[in-house]
């Protein structure tokens, strides 16, 4: 992953409004693929997005998109932005709106037509694009917002809560579009408060809280960094009672819960110590372990843990 060139980069970026620090010494690089931006309200997500899209200038540090300052007009050619706000030129049709956005990006009439049709096709709105925006459902409005964001084929697409208010079928379609864009080598930054979405959607996750970047990377990488993060591990074995007794002897295991008929749920304090011990036991005794799974490795669990740590 580290060999892939970054499409945009935050270098020690801080942003404050008066005495309030919105973003504090944040550094990261966006690479092709889907990156989830996760954080509670007031964490600094919006500020980060506004800095990336050139709506704000950093108080300290620099934000560069394809090696040009994000504040410059040139950088905006590389960025597509799907805002959170449900704002449109309501009197326009979806098609006219996307075409207008293409014209604003400097395309001539014919090029703008071609590009807007391609973008509408990508979000599967071609047949419904002639209706007035005011008559669209929330899901259709989200698609039109996405279409205007990708109409100029940008390298970086920033999506602020793109799945808000979209029905499950629409979600699946939009997620497919995000994946297509990522597969085409684009960097997709998705800000979302629905953490479950990130488990399946994001290749990487950035956790942000109180203006600071708590962690970033793939969920597995972040988990590995958090050696002392307690884990819940479910084991299916032929003789769960005997295995439970052995598990309780391990220092890294805090608690064991039997889940009949053949499962037990372990609360593990130090995963780094636990897994080698378990492997040793499994090799020594014949417990016939059929399945082992970490049940709380989700984005939400990791994020909860990080938040608790940040609070302390």
């Amino acid at each position: 992953m580290s060999e892939t060139p970054s499409l945009c980069r935050f270098r020690r970026v801080s942003k404050w409004y008066g005495a309030v620090i919105a973003l504090n010494d944040v550094s990261f690089a966006l690479r092709p693929g889907i990156t989830g931006l996760v954080g509670p309200n007031g964490a600094g997500k919006s500020t980060l997005i506004k800095l990336l899209t050139g709506q704000l200038r950093p108080s300290l540090g620099e934000v560069r998109v394809q090696d040009v300052s994000a504040w410059s007009a040139a950088a905006r050619s590389y960025i597509g932005y799907c805002p959170d706000a449900d704002a449109f030129y309501e009197e326009m049709s979806g098609r006219a709106f996307v075409r207008f956005m293409a014209r604003l990006r400097g395309y001539r009439r014919n090029d703008a037509h071609e590009r807007s049709e391609a973008a509408l096709q990508q979000v599967e709105m071609t047949d419904r694009a002639d209706r007035k925006l005011g008559s669209y459902s929330k899901g259709m409005r989200q698609r039109i917002k996405l279409a205007q964001a990708i109409v100029h084929d940008p390298d970086v697409v920033v999506l602020d809560e793109p799945l808000n208010g979209v029905d499950p079928v629409g979600r699946a379609q939009l997620v497919r579009v995000f994946r297509q864009l990522a597969d085409a080598g684009k960097a997709i930054l998705i800000s979302s408060h629905i953490l479950d979405e990130m488990d399946t959607l994001a290749d990487q996750v950035m956790f942000i809280c109180r203006g600071r970047m708590l962690a970033s990377g793939t969920l597995e990488e972040i988990r590995e960094m958090l050696e002392d993060h307690p884990l819940k591990v479910r084991i299916n074995a032929k003789s769960p009672r005997e295995l439970a007794g052995q598990m309780l002897r391990l220092n890294a295991v805090r608690g064991v819960q039997l889940e009949p008929p053949q499962s037990l749920l372990l609360e593990v304090e130090r995963p780094g110590e636990f897994f080698p011990e378990l492997a040793r036991l499994a090799a020594k005794e014949d417990y016939e372990i059929e399945k082992l799974e970490v049940v709380d490795a989700s984005t939400e669990a990791v994020f909860d843990y990080l938040l608790r740590q940040a609070g302390q």
Partner: protein, 279 residues
């Protein structure tokens, strides 16, 4: 990499940046023309047009009623209708309606984000919006003046020939000023309205040179100067000794200077300002 190669790479990089800048300005020109056209259409179909039409309709009725009495003179038309009803009230209101709404409405409706996110250089966005509101304001101020002068008959027609350059210059000055308000203040329409009614009329009527901050002062000076052929000059509360008028030769450049300075200030402010809460 040798020093020569790295120098070559740097030069290529600079070349690319220059090319990118050039294409942005070239593409920006067609983008800003499109923006100006769309903005014009949106402003024309807005409630500002209804308000302007109602105000002009009311002014026309007042002028019609005024013209019922026989023997009206251009001097009377200027002092009783043109200055109090048109240049002091309608003219700034027409400009205010469109110039403050131009960017402030986009900000209020949160659609400004789309414009700020486009690769159009911000000065071009500002100029495009300015042009659309200026065109509409000119349509109303010049059209309104022609209509008003026509309905009152001869005194109006004789007045029209001498005051239209003043009205045009004032429109440019007011649009520049209110457009600047639109990018500077969150509630630009209220600020602009307070300015038009309070500062322009109150400060514009104060004795001494304080009134020189008001656009209406220069407008009136030009009207007095050009209407001297009808024997009109500052009188009553416009007593010359108190009013201290300036000549049209000085007032006209002052109006154009205000127009240019406010346009420039608006461009600079809009280009540098961070619209963090476009909501």
């Amino acid at each position: 990499m040798s020093a020569e190669e790295s120098q070559e790479t740097r030069n290529e990089g600079k070349q690319q940046v220059i090319q990118a800048d050039t294409s942005i300005w070239r593409g920006g020109l067609s983008g800003s023309i499109c923006l100006a056209v769309v903005s014009f259409r949106r402003l024309f179909r807005s409630r500002q047009t209804i308000v302007s039409a109602m105000l002009l309709g009311f002014a026309v009725m007042v002028a019609l009623a005024w013209s019922m009495r026989r023997g009206r003179t251009p001097e009377e038309f200027i002092s009783q209708i043109l200055i109090p009803v048109y240049t002091s009230f309608l003219l700034p209101i027409f400009c205010l309606c469109y110039a403050t709404a131009s960017i402030a409405a986009e900000r209020e409706e949160q659609t400004l984000t789309y414009l700020l996110l486009s690769p159009l250089p911000r000065p071009l966005v500002y100029v495009a919006k300015y042009c659309s509101s200026l065109a509409l304001a000119l349509l109303w101020t010049m059209g309104g003046l022609i209509l008003l002068c026509q309905v009152v008959g001869d005194p109006g027609q004789r007045t029209l020939a001498i005051v239209w350059p003043t009205v045009m210059a004032s429109t440019f000055a007011y649009v520049g000023l209110f457009h600047l308000f639109g990018v500077m203040f969150r509630r630009a329409t209220i600020v602009g309205f307070a300015y038009a009614l309070f500062l322009e009329n109150f400060v514009g009527s104060m004795p001494g040179i304080v009134k020189r901050v008001a656009v209406s002062f220069y407008t009136e000076c030009m009207i007095f100067d050009s209407a001297a052929i009808f024997g009109l000059g500052p009188a009553g509360h416009h007593d010359e000794a108190m009013y201290l008028p300036i000549s049209a030769a000085a007032a006209m450049p002052a109006l154009w200077l205000i127009a240019a300075a406010t346009l420039l200030a608006g461009i600079v402010f809009f280009s540098r300002h961070e619209y963090s809460g476009t909501s």
